[in-house]
Amino acid sequence: MELDFLATVLLSSLSSASILLIATIGLAVVFGLMGVINLAHGEFLMIGAYTALTVTQAGVPYILSIPIAVAVTMVIGAIVELLIINRLYGRLFDTMLATWGLSIVFYQLAVLIFGTVTPGIGMPQFSIAVGEYSLAGYPLLMIGVAAAMLIFVYLLMTKSVYGMKARASIQVPHMAQAIGIESSRTNMLTFSVGCGLAGFAGAVLLPIVPATPSMGFAFVIKAFLTVVVAGPVTLTGSAITALGLGGGASVTASFMTSVVGDVFFFVITALLLWLYPMGISAKWRRKL
């Protein structure tokens, strides 16, 4: 029985770490490949969730609503890059302020359009038995989704020409130009992909996290910290940080209270930043 309990705790912690990772990947991609912190990331998540919700309510099967949410957020992301972000490259804090303003605009628009309370969609009902315990299946499925997202982003960035261009552009911007890379186009695509990943996260997490205008704020706290603690090798760094911090917080929470879990998260974050002021991966030699 003890063992069963431990297994359920581990599984559910892994699943909450995965949920954190799903919400973080888009932010990590944009930060890692453009050096831009998108404070409106949470709102792109929200846009993805509302898109999925709206089309589902219109009768489209939930599974098909996910790619639609991705498409919508990618288009909005591209427009935002064109109008705001590309005027601010190299001005990290101005970008943060501008995207912060944007997050408020999106939030308020969502309040105006959808109101503050919206119906959720039912969670696909299946469960998995671990000994005498039974765990809801959908959150566990998120472990697979997070892994799939990681693999997708890794392949996109390492195997595609676009991915190589994007990495070259952030690593040595002037040399990327000098070998013929039009970095403005690459950056627009990267930002759009990052927003699309956020939209995907919002849609795929919809059964677990119902769409509300303020859902973005709740998610971004931990996502930001994950990315910042991760440092320059964003993908691997974020995966490890999300597992360690998110998983650790969740394990702590299941033995104590959720507040203790959150405290664990923030204390460990502060400790890690104390030890690695530029992120844990500052000295790693890895691609992503």
Binding site: R167, Q171, I179
Partner: protein, 232 residues
């Protein structure tokens, strides 16, 4: 085929090069000599459009070169910067492949060719470029520049921090690509021996201007000029 005309430029408000004009003819190897700080690198960055011109322009094949570094690369200008600047968190193969693919060449073929040209890169093919030694990075930066299939190659201090055996090897490779592929080369150097082993003709820079134009034999004969150039 490659001309810099009345180049005046620098950083911010500071002018570093003034009214510099030079020419590299088709298939020629030309050296740009001078002590540290005379403006060789600035001239190179001017030629690649990495710094905006204050005055003057660049011509490739008699046409004015386009006004963006990326477009200049596409019109056949290869550049190996001082300090190499390989993409550190990309593998050797990726460094070469991205340069080829960006300019519409087959990346696989480009990588194969590069590894054949530079066998010393082969055992390191899957390593991250940032972990290579200085000399290996220099060779990689050269391979990357060649992958865009340039017609004129600009090299900025290619021997800096590179051990002598590799310098010799590099000289050999440069001579070969110049001969076989007809790529013209402009090389800025402080290493006189290296320059004299590959270049026929040289410009000497001083305080942001071209002081003289000379050829290999004249330079070889003039010990005093050699001493002065190197500050030894």
């Amino acid at each position: 085929m490659f001309k810099v005309v009345n180049a005046t430029g620098g950083y911010g408000k500071t002018t570093i090069i003034r009214n510099v004009s030079l020419e590299v003819k088709s298939g020629e190897v030309v050296a740009l000599l001078g002590r540290n700080g005379v403006g060789k690198s600035t001239l190179m960055r001017f030629a690649t459009n990495l710094i905006p011109p204050m005055e003057g322009h660049v011509e490739i094949d008699g046409n004015p070169a386009p006004n963006s570094p990326a477009k200049r690369a596409k019109s056949g200008l290869g550049y190996v910067p001082q300090g190499r600047f390989v993409f550190p968190r990309m593998t050797v193969i990726e460094n070469i492949a991205v340069a080829a693919a960006t300019n519409g060449h087959d990346p696989k073929k480009a990588v194969e060719e590069a590894l054949a040209d530079f066998p010393m890169l082969r055992p390191k093919a899957h390593d991250l470029a940032g972990g290579l030694s200085g000399g290996q990075q220099q060779v990689l930066a050269l391979a990357r520049a060649l992958a865009i299939m340039p017609r004129i190659l600009l090299l900025d201090e290619p021997t800096e921090g590179v051990q002598p055996s590799i310098i010799d090897e590099m000289a050999g490779i440069l001579k070969r690509i110049n001969r076989d592929r007809g790529i013209a080369i402009l090389v800025a150097e402080q290493n006189l021996d290296f320059c004299l082993s590959i270049a026929e003709r040289a410009y000497v820079m001083e305080k942001g201007e071209i002081r003289m134009e000379t050829d290999r034999d004249a330079l070889l004969a003039d010990k005093e000029l050699q001493q002065e150039l190197l500050g030894v």
